[in-house]
Amino acid sequence: MTTTLAPTAGRAGSPAAPGPRRRRPRQTRLLFMLPAAVFLGVLSVYPLVTLVRMAFSKVTAATLNADWAFSGLDNFTAGLESGDTGAAVSRTLVFVVVVTVLGMGLGLGGAIALRTRGWWSGALLALMVFVWALPPVVNGSVWKFLLADTGLLNTVLLGTGLRDTPVPFLYDQHWALASVAFVNAFAVIPFNALVYRAALLTIEPEVFEAAQLDGASKAQQVRHIMVPSVRGTTLVLLILTLVYGFRSFDFIYVMTYGGPGTATNTLPFLGYLQAFVRYDYGLGAATSVIAVAGVLVLAALYARSIRNEEKHG
């Protein structure tokens, strides 16, 4: 699931010019971070270090708890030479593009539509947030069913005579990747819409009134008022959505389990399969390290955009 953070609420919280008198309690408060530091050190950072060590070692089911033989770049070259890694990277990119375009587009579109008052907007927003809060395995199983040969979508398509045969949403090479990406977008749209909507509601109503007096159309208001004023939000949401698509796992596991064949083996899923289905933990770790590297790049972009926002915002 996405969602986040962003240190924006009230810079006022920290006094601008701390006198020497306040310095001591401040340092004391650093200690509040100690439990989290220890906890994450043991259960997040240490595992990541282990992952990197595994990526450069030969680790199989037999040697999992023994000493690992250092194997250099063997795992990485094995992954690349088999063609699995390269194919997974390009599939991941397609996947991320679909999730991001749909997730951002319908997120903003939904927010603009949901700005309106009334019971419909309120109920729809609640419905969307509820669906967002459902476990991915629930959403995934419903969509697996909706997209099945006997599912609702195919029933409607066949019933209206638009198609003679069911669309193989989850059984065809190309359809499967697009279908799972669509469901991932479906799961992230409510969050993006919610955050976008909050940003849109901060625009002064006078701005729209003035635009209307000047004869600006709805489309012009969207283009010249709304889109520019949510630029900062867009930047942050964009990176969150990219990361969300990039590391996606739950829906693939539930809906296609990487199939048909290898059609939905994205980078994180490939790493999982290599480790837990083929029991080649070293190879799986190497693939995961590549995925982690991708996330690190996105995280760096994210940190930069937040810093800029704090400066300008």
Binding site: L5, A6, G10, T116, A133, T233, V254
Partner: protein
Amino acid sequence: MNEVKAGPVAIATKALLTLMYGVPILWILITSVKSSADVFDRASTFVFTPTLDAYANAITPTLWQAMGQSAVIAVGATALVLIVAVPAAYGLARTTGWLPTVGLGLLIVLQMMPQTANVIPLFQIFSSWRLLDTTAAVILADAALLVPFATLLLRPFFRAVPPQLEEASSIDGAGVLRTFWTVVLPVARNGVFTVGTLIFLLAWGEFLYAVNFYLTPGSYPLSALLAQQVSAFGIDWPGLMALAVLTSVPILVVFSLTYRQLKDGLTVGAVK
């Protein structure tokens, strides 16, 4: 608030979204009260005789056990996350300098990590600690996954607590710990509550750690049970949808009790 009238485009968008989000929910409910024969009969797509067979078949001792397991995991993980993340968020909100900055950056990176990058090493680590096949392993892993997210989401709530309150308290002679406990925490309790709810929802739905760290399906929580059934071959759709409904009921309860705070909390904690 802007007083906006919906134009045709807005109405079309809302109609599309209503379909997109309403139909799946409706479809789970409809399918869960169908017989298997009706599911595969195109003529009975919309017209059929409802039956509660799927629920009757789904509600078994296994289900109750799985639900209990889910509750233990979700409550345990939420408690552990809050114990660790609440002080950390407060510490981050009230300190400056390189250490909190590095901490913040690290949290952002950790919360973006693919879960698959953690499950591989954690499997080995838990195996060497002899924690595999225990509920503790799943709780610890879930908590580790969610602490960064919770801390980042909690921090703005602590920043919003007026520092003057703390100064007044410390002038009265209260120590930092006491001030935190009696002054800061009560003021920030809505935020803690919202984040706690979110963590509960996420931990309730998590299945990857459960599937891998329990060595037999006997002790799976609901989410893992559901995941296992969905990826199985030859699916019993009504049974599956009944299981999905039963998995969602606690979410519905938590959601309807906390929707307002959840909505506001998400937007505060999120971008702006």
